[in-house]
Symmetry: C2
Amino acid sequence: MSSDAPATGPQRQTRQRTAVQSVLEGRDEFTSAQDLHDLLRRQGTAVGLTTVYRSLQALADAGQVDVLVTAEGQTLYRRCSSEHHHHLVCRTCGRTIEIAGPAVETWADAIAREHGFSDISHTLELFGSCPACSSG
Amino acid sequence: MSSDAPATGPQRQTRQRTAVQSVLEGRDEFTSAQDLHDLLRRQGTAVGLTTVYRSLQALADAGQVDVLVTAEGQTLYRRCSSEHHHHLVCRTCGRTIEIAGPAVETWADAIAREHGFSDISHTLELFGSCPACSSG
DNA sequence: TTTGGTGCAAAACCTTTGCATTAGG
DNA sequence: CCTAATGCAAAGGTTTTGCACCAAA
């Protein structure tokens, strides 16, 4: 699924939206809406939780942030290069490394075609313990 | 993560557990606890929603069902061969095909080691339109 | 001015937990 | 009998929605 809707982007640039975007810029880890909300508050730029959710949805629709759902069902967001890629996430400290794996894309397409499926998309995330966390 | 705990399996075989298991046996698609609960009721074998959840957790712990979290954060279950594998799911009709992709396992381990990560696990699901649904 | 954006409070959802009751072994 | 399992009701946690007010353009 290579996106689709022309993504009727936001029409007004507000203080809140700018704040949400800027916090995301400064983060490398996947973060939940609630955590983002806390960060904003501590940072002094108060933004309603509802607005954080709405801003993130908008950014996601516009393809400006990656969305990931944890095994617990919580939705996490992260700014990203608009290209397709995956992540290697440390399950202890959350450190994230972007991975471009054309090999997987190729494999996925082959498998799909083999079964007659079309319009393929896929989700793939790697989890593990990073050097720092596994040394303990 | 290739499971772990000897999975202190259930100690008693009850009418409810049997019912949940049998419904899963007859299904090829990933199904939510709530839908399973509805199916059971319509089928005449009433089981409390709580029990459905608990039974599914037990089955998941025992490695007898696959667990998958949708993009909406809903948890879906499906009976499966206990080996590690992935799925190719039709996003229209839900038809599911099991895929054994050692290639991905190998690739994931390589990438992880390359970054010094250990104790690797991963999630991978393919979505697309099956032959029947894409012909329309 | 116009209309999209904001945010509080409340609702909607899915899932888990407390606890008295039931029933498998 | 003994204790795991059940199921209702209530709690918990995340995300969405209703609506009056605010502010970007």
